[in-house]
Amino acid sequence: MAASCVRTVGSFLGKCTKCSSSINTVATQVLLSRQVCVSSALCRKNLAAAGPEKFTLEYIQKQVEEYEIGKRHLANMMGEDSENFTQEDIDKSIAYLFPSSLFEKRARPLMKHPDEIFPKQRAVQWGADGRPFHFLFYTGKQSYYSLMHDLYGKILKIEKHQDRLRAKGLFSQDAQLISLGPSRWLTKEELELLLVETISTHDYDRFIKLMERMLAMPYSSTEEEFVQRYRRQLEAQSMKQMMPPLEKDENGVAFSTAEGRRKTSDSSVILRDCGSGHITINGQDYLQYFPVLQDREQLMFPLQFMGVLGRFNLECTVSGGGRSSQAGALRLAISRALLSFLSEGDGEAMRQAGLLTPDPRVRERKKPGQEGARRKFTWKKR
């Protein structure tokens, strides 16, 4: 139940009316003596309505100065050169001076430049005489609308250019579209960061549509630099397999090295094109290391699949895990090393057979309240 407080009418009036000068003083004296019950909801501040915390410019400047001074002190403490103390050095020193084993990395002690800590916010938008700086200030979303305005201006410019060329008779439909390469448009969040103001999904869609419209016009290559500002490069995803390089050792024997992982085992294999079919694992013979037939079959499978059983010499190292997972790791490493000796078609066949896919299965953790990862405790009806 909300706590209600008793207030006098005088304070209530003072809160609610700004200009109470018109109220008769005699009347107020009579009214002030009466007690009025007022709920605390009136004096409770709506904290959510204020929005994110705002920092003044002076406060942030003070933080920057403190950061610079602190950086010098830290450098002196660590015995380093205070002039060339980079952010990485700062991070290392802080990790050394304040060791923390907290799992959440963001909860650990941190010392960064205030620009990275405090969110970017807008400075005051108008000058001393009250006139706003930006001509679209009164729209509410000045950066977004000014971006749309500039974009539309560029479209008009391109259309005028097209008209001029058409008048001269030099217009050609298939000329000079912008080549973008593997890139994507800025996401809505990235655009909001860029503009330092919030935009709705509707606004974002309109922006993308207008950009696409500009890109579809014939002579849009003049605005390429402007468009690239709102694009992010994607790493080109190649469909080709990454094969280990084929090297030659001193005796002229071709060999290739590859690595493989399975569960907690790591293995590394050197495949030599000798012709003998010898296999060594961690210095031991493979019969000795893997007494079980199943593990030896796993080793042989890639070579038997390709029909090159007696051709290669294998020198393997493996660590971690149990016998089955070590065998699986070795199998993956052997398949990868084989890729450099085989043709594209054979490599594709290996991929289809599943020899080149790393097995992602790892041990699932045990959960509290259960016997194991999935097994629950025995259920008893009573």
Binding site: V124, R131, F135, Y138
Partner: protein
Amino acid sequence: MIVNNRCFNVCFIFRPFRVPILTGCHSSIPLWWASLCDKKILNQPLEKPDFFRVAELFSLKDLFDARVHLGHKKGCRHRLMEPYLYGCRLDHDIIDLDQTMEHLQLALNFTAHIAYRGGIILFVSRRRQFGHLVETTAKDCGEYAHTRYWQGGLLTNANIQYGPGVRLPDLIIFLSTLNNVFQQHVGIRDAAKMNIPTVGVVDSNCNPSLVTYPVPGNDDTPAAVELYCRLFKMTINRAKDRRKQMELLHGLSADARERRHV
């Protein structure tokens, strides 16, 4: 105090009026600004009826060539626009260009005085065809524009929308008083609520009642809208240049007087 321009008296073309000094209930004139402005600079333009000679900027023929007289069809006619219409030809309303001339001169004169006194002018138009043109005009004058979706509390809830201590526009110029659904633009009502004078181009389907300085004319043809933009831009630039000249003039004369005294 705002000029009451409700009488359609044709005898006086330029009746003397009092220019509002920074309207808007949340604006506060900084003391240093008020003290800097010499009284002479502020009062001199008020002595002549057409101090900025805005009547020379356009003629009736310009208005006719820009097709300002073309209204909408008879069915779209607003009742309150009937005094401004010359007549109706084959169901098309024709706006009386003589009345448009006077109203446009008044409006341009008022705009010039506001710009002379350093007021904030906001250009508003919700027509997508002319949005870019209006924004460019505003940018060229050094004033402000709003051709986008009008958020409800822009004028009435300004302190919360923009931050405390924001200065509201001193004049709003509507190049089209209707919004995209053919209803009256919210800005007209809000400006009237906030005591901000408005200049508006009212077509034959618009309601001119809340606009302080209505200018009956066509708001659909590109030629007409380009004419209005050009006229407003020229008046504002003229007024600002005149202000700079006056400040220089009076500044010089003040220096000369000081030197003589010393």
